[in-house]
């Protein structure tokens, strides 16, 4: 009887779960790779068989069509399909980036409002979230497009916004500002009665603070603009027309002061925080930033002798000529994307705040922190850890959803590139591949920055 020889090496190699895992992974990878390869080669063979031209030669061919909203020069006579791509891409990035900022603000506001113990406020927020989340975005875009267009007159009967007493100092706007400030003050004062927990009191105070700040900024900015520009704010169904600023000699100084003001504010904020950590002394960062960013450039503007002139829009033929035109398609798309995404962000924010245990608020109170600082320093930073990952998803969704623009005539990447360019050239494979690559890149870049932010906010465990 031969003795059985145990071969531990072989046996463990075959049955080692780790190695088996690797083998399966490699097999799967090979299959996926083979699938991709055969799909690609199949496509190439079929295109050749059908004599469909392929390659990227079309990129430099003359486009021959026009686009209304363009951030870079583009015309039917001289521009190429490649330039059409950039026009579309920039339009997508424009609406997505502004939409992300606005939907974040609106989403936070609604999310916080939904947690308020004020019955009316929280129910209104709930209705908003439920309605917005449950209707298809495309439908909402059609609604907004029609809602934007329908009430507006034709260009010959343009509404002159200046006509409504928005002069400087605008009585209407100042009145509205006073009402907003009064409301915010009342909200702040009655927070004890409106809310029955410390967290809710903090939230009410936060909301009142935001209202007050937003009202102040709008009033300052708008009054400032109206002080400089006497008229030329026209509204009709071709869009909102604004005076187009032209910088005279010394005008660039204002822009530079503005940019330096932003940088200086950031530096000051960092310095102030370090000072506070070291000495406990606090600085009025907000007011100094406002001075640096808004007041100082305005002062420079006055000192340099108002070197800004304006091209005013005026009626010429069918439409207005001159000025900056904000297209109704852009406004409708922005409104649709913002309100839709804000509905989801509101829920993310609510979940984040609810995730912070009540004990944290109680502990902060035990330390003697008031409601406002408790929220700002204890609750929100912990809530952010829960909020950021789903927030990233919502930013990505907003960007991708902007491709629905094609339905309401906004020239985004999908409309210009996979719409018109694809059709004029017939290069379906190339054009779709490029478009997919662009959306993938935008998504990855957004995720990358949000992940960096997430890392900074994440709980540091020892």
């Amino acid at each position: 009887m031969p003795t059985e020889t145990v071969q531990p090496g072989k046996a463990s190699l075959l049955y080692d779960p780790k190695i088996r895992g690797y083998v399966y992974q490699a097999a799967l990878l090979a299959v996926v790779g083979f699938l991709l390869y055969s799909a690609a080669s199949n496509a190439i063979t079929n295109l050749r068989a059908q004599k469909i031209a392929s390659g990227f030669g079309f990129w430099h061919n003359a486009a021959g069509f026009d686009v209304n909203q363009k951030l870079i020069p583009f015309s039917a006579s001289g521009s190429t399909y490649g330039e059409a791509f950039y026009v579309g891409l920039l339009n997508t990035l424009l609406v997505a980036s502004i939409g992300i900022v606005l939907s974040t603000f609106l989403g936070f506001f609604v999310g916080v409002a939904r947690l308020s113990s004020n019955w009316v406020l929280s129910k209104l927020a709930m209705i908003y979230v439920e309605v917005i989340r449950n209707l298809p975005l495309l439908l909402q875009l059609f609604f907004w497009y029609n809602a934007v267009l329908k009430p507006l007159p034709n260009p010959r009967q343009s509404i002159d916004l200046h006509f409504f007493g928005l002069g400087w100092p605008s009585p209407l706007l100042t009145g509205l500002m006073a009402i907003a400030a009064g409301l915010a003050w009342l909200l702040y004062k009655s927070s004890d009665r409106l809310a029955n927990s410390d967290r809710d009191r903090g939230l009410v105070k936060l909301v009142s603070g935001v209202v007050l700040t937003v009202a102040t900024v709008i009033w300052l900015v708008y009054s400032g603009i109206l002080h400089v520009v006497s008229s030329g704010f026209l509204l009709n169904n071709r869009g909102l027309y604004l005076p187009d600023p032209q910088l005279g000699p010394g005008g660039s100084l204002i822009v530079w002061t503005f940019l330096i003001g932003i940088v200086a504010s950031i530096i000051f904020r960092v310095w102030a925080r370090k000072q506070q950590e070291a000495t406990g002394k606090q600085y009025p960062v907000g007011w100094i930033a406002l001075g640096l960013i808004v007041v100082l450039p305005f002062f420079v503007y006055l000192v340099t002798g108002r070197p800004v002139s304006f091209i005013y829009p005026e009626i010429a033929g069918f439409n207005l000529r001159g000025g900056i035109q904000i297209f109704p398609e852009f406004v409708a798309l922005l409104l649709g994307l913002t309100t839709y995404t804000a509905g989801f962000i509101a829920e993310v924010v609510r979940a984040g705040i609810l995730a912070v245990s009540k004990g944290q608020t109680e502990a902060a109170n035990a330390l003697g922190l008031r409601a406002g600082p408790t929220l700002k320093l204890v609750v929100i930073p912990q809530a952010m850890r829960v909020i950021i990952p789903p927030l990233t998803s919502n930013y990505l969704n907003l960007t991708k959803n902007s491709s629905l623009a094609v339905a309401i005539g906004y020239p985004d990447l999908v409309q210009v590139f996979t719409g018109t360019v694809l059709n004029q050239t017939g290069q379906a494979v190339e054009v779709v591949a490029i478009t997919m690559a662009v959306y993938l890149t935008i998504s990855l870049v957004t995720s990358f920055f949000m992940n960096i932010y997430n890392k900074r906010m994440a709980l540091v465990e020892r």
Partner: protein, 340 residues
Amino acid sequence: MKKAVTSALVLASLALGAGVAQAQTGLLPQVKARGVVTCGTSPGLAGFAMPDAQGNYTGIDVDLCRALAAAIFNDPQKVKFVPLSSKDRFTALQAGEVDLLSRTTTWTLSRDTSLGLNFAGINYFDGQGFMVRKKLGVDSALKLAGASVCVAQGTTTELNLADFFRANKMKYEVVAFGSGDETIKAYESGRCDAFTTDSSGLYAERLKLQIPTDHIVLPEIISKEPLGPVVRHGDDNWLDIVKWTHNAMVNAEELGITKANVDEMLKSENPEIKRFVGTEGKFGEPMGLSNDWAYRIVKLVGNYGEVFEKNVGASSPLKIARGQNALWTKGGLQYAPPIR
């Protein structure tokens, strides 16, 4: 894990198998086996392709597809209509989703030569025009300087529009939409001063407006738009069948063969008519059809003139004059090579 690998392999073999099966057998046997012609049409353009209250498609483009089904199956109902936007039509045809496009598609050099497509004839001679509101007081497209113009994207229309305004040194603002429906809605809401498409389309779309008589079509025709059926490259027999289906309809009108009298024509002694209805010669067989293929077309669908009148002509709401779509014998452009 094992399951995942197996299913991936099954998927792979399916993908490859599909690729192999599609290669080179000719479309006609496939269509016959399938029992139905798949035909890409407009999603809704009155007179050309439009579903009625019962969901039956009607129109001049639709009747071409029905004629094709009549020639192949002796049954004009054996058509599956696939509504396609102007944006999606070529991709759908290239990808084999439809056997042909019969969808107000302009025959241009670049489409014919670089998209892997073949045009099979011209079933409607058209040209691009403009529609405006009457109260605008504009009576010529040359007075549209500075106007906003609504257009459906992905068409030759967009290019002609740019060319026209450039050639006449006029500024304008273009607003492009994904589909014709959204374009006409935007025009109606006042977003644009003018709406542009092929003039047949202008008459058709005008019917969709609330008060059609408030709008006028301007006299200028700014382009040539020969519209016709399109098939994929590489299947000459299928191209012949589509081409000759259209030619048969035009020839029938010229020979005076109508839906009503085609049965009598079977007894005709006129050699041209005999060849047409299949009582003399074998003109269907080389295409893989029966010899009475042209008889079936007229019997079941009608001749070109009948189809024109019924769908877009005097007896339709569009009331478009025959104009250049009249037969060559009557001063028009419709001309078909003889069947012999």
